[in-house]
Amino acid sequence: MSTIAVDARPAAAAARPAERMRRAARRWRYATNAGAALLSAVILVWTLTPIYNIIMVSLESEGDVAVTTIWPSQPSAESFWVVLTEGHWYLEAFWHQFGNSVFLAAMVTLLVLLIGSLTSFSISRMRIRNGWMITNAALLTYVIPGSFLAIPFYLIMNRYGMQNNPWSVIAVLVTFTTPYAIFIFQEYGRSIPLELDESARIDGASPIQIYFRIYLPLMAPALVAVGTYALLAAWNEYLYQFLLLSNDRSMTVAVALGKFLNSDVAPWNYMMATAIIYALPPLATYYIFRRRMSSGLTMGGVKG
């Protein structure tokens, strides 16, 4: 009898604090969940407001842009149709400009992958003497802001008659994107054993065969990551395209958009529709290759 009483009392006493602790933990969990929900709402509003604004303005019908509401009064997709059919004198050459942007981005991607992989193959696989100097040069280029060279570069290109030539922009974009490629390739290449190259060399493979048959196939994930990055960087870049491509035949969508902004009578709904169409290809590319890019991203970061 007495033993039971001795046992029962501590048990009852212990049950209450445990229950209290459980309740406190539950309350704490509710509080943090509520906090997280609140923060999520703030993040959503913060992130989506400017994006909502583009969509809202693009859905206005013509002449209705200067509204005082916060939703489109008469939503219509008319402005998208106008952009796609080049139905406004601002947009006469839209598809041509779109093609220019595609060409520019494709060439930059191709050249960055080619030059970047050749350089890092030579430095980290063939171990060329003084390769560290090239790595340092690339690091330096990566670190200095591109806009600092804009004025001299613009004057040099003018001097050689390269204005309105897409290759001048391709050259500068390749210059500022290749360093990133060289880093990522060197970092990623460390995971590929050098013995592979050596055994191929013993079997009589020439460096160019090793490059094509061994190096490039094994580097495929890094090539995809860097290729995506170069594609987005070239498509999104504005300053050099604006400086170097100014006539109607050579300009890209980005330059055309900027020109829209600087004219006083710009039809804002068409401009926003153009902006959305311009933003969709990189956005799709980004979300498709997001997982592959993130591995590269953690290794080198991306220049703004």
Partner: protein, 305 residues
């Protein structure tokens, strides 16, 4: 050349052979030619499009008289103040937000992952459309912000882009909006690389909540955070888009940064590219030490970044 030291005599011939190969870069004959051929494209690009423009710029800005003209220009002095404000707020606010938010995005669950996908939108969308959108949003008469202020609170908002400080604040805001997701993703990757065992050990020692962050997470992220601060500072010094599209340098050229001042006002509006080069080059005393520190940091912490 013919003197051979006693130490070298003691070594086997193979060792000397490899030493010789080391001095030649470990490559011989045709292989060496190939290796050189592979790096030539990049060296050519570097010389033609980095070294040449850089020296051309230095030559353009080498006239001391330019600098007295630049420093006596009130708009340039405003620009320097703007740049300082931009650096102080832009860099620190966005990195601090990124540090905090990366902790939030560590929470488990599908909701956090979905939110992260939305959160990276500002970075994934090209800068141009969103900055144009922000420019329109801040319009005093028809902008979304003032419409919302009026409808929700009955307040007449200011015309954001017509006063210097509001316009500059808007440009900083746009910059933070655009770039916070990017730094968050990097810091998130940094946090994910911290092994769970460290947190388990810290838990045993009683470190939870704020103390866990202060004594465990942050010390481990400190080096990364420092490198990111340096990188963000340098990238911000060269920022063009956020000011050019949101404020256009206005009102009355009062919100320029160095890049927009040099390119837009000096070169395109005034037609004096030398002045622009001099304005941009005045950032070199700040830029060069940053670049040197950063290059050293990047080399030692490559694996971490």
């Amino acid at each position: 050349m013919t003197t051979v030291s006693a130490i070298e005599l003691g070594r086997p011939a193979v060792r000397r052979q490899s030493l010789w190969r080391y001095w030649r870069g470990g490559l011989q004959g045709s292989e060496f030619t190939w290796a050189v051929a592979f790096v030539i494209p990049y060296i050519a690009v570097f010389l033609a499009f980095v070294v040449y423009p850089a020296f051309y710029g230095l030559w353009m800005g080498s006239n001391p008289a330019l600098y007295s003209e630049v420093f006596s220009d009130p708009i340039y002095l405003n620009t320097v103040v703007n740049t300082m404000i931009f650096l102080a707020f832009g860099v620190n606010v966005k990195l601090f937000l990124a540090l905090m938010l990366s902790g939030f995005f560590m929470r488990p669950g599908w909701w956090t992952k979905a939110l992260l996908m939305i959160f990276v939108l500002p970075w994934a969308i090209p800068a141009l459309p969103t900055f144009i959108s922000i420019h329109w949003m801040l319009n005093g008469e028809w902008g979304l912000v003032n419409n919302a202020l009026y409808i929700l609170f009955g307040i007449d908002g200011p015309s954001w882009l017509n006063s210097r400080w509001l316009a500059l604040g808007s440009a900083v805001f746009s910059h933070v909006w655009k770039w916070t997701p990017f730094w968050t993703v990097i810091l998130l990757a940094g946090r994910m690389s911290i092994p769970q065992e460290i947190y388990d050990a810290a838990k045993v020692d009683g470190a939870t909540g704020l103390r866990r962050f202060l004594y465990v997470t942050f010390p481990l992220l400190a080096n990364l955070y420092l490198v990111l601060t340096l990188l963000a500072t340098i990238f911000l010094l060269g920022d063009f888009n956020s000011v050019y599209f949101v404020t256009g340098g206005g009102p009355a050229n009062s919100t320029h940064l160095l890049a927009t001042l040099g390119v837009v006002r000096d070169m395109l509006e005034l037609g004096k590219p030398q002045l622009g080069v001099a304005a941009v080059m005045s950032a070199l005393p700040l830029l060069i030490p940053l670049v040197i520190i950063l290059m050293r940091k990047l080399k030692t912490s490559e694996a971490q970044l």
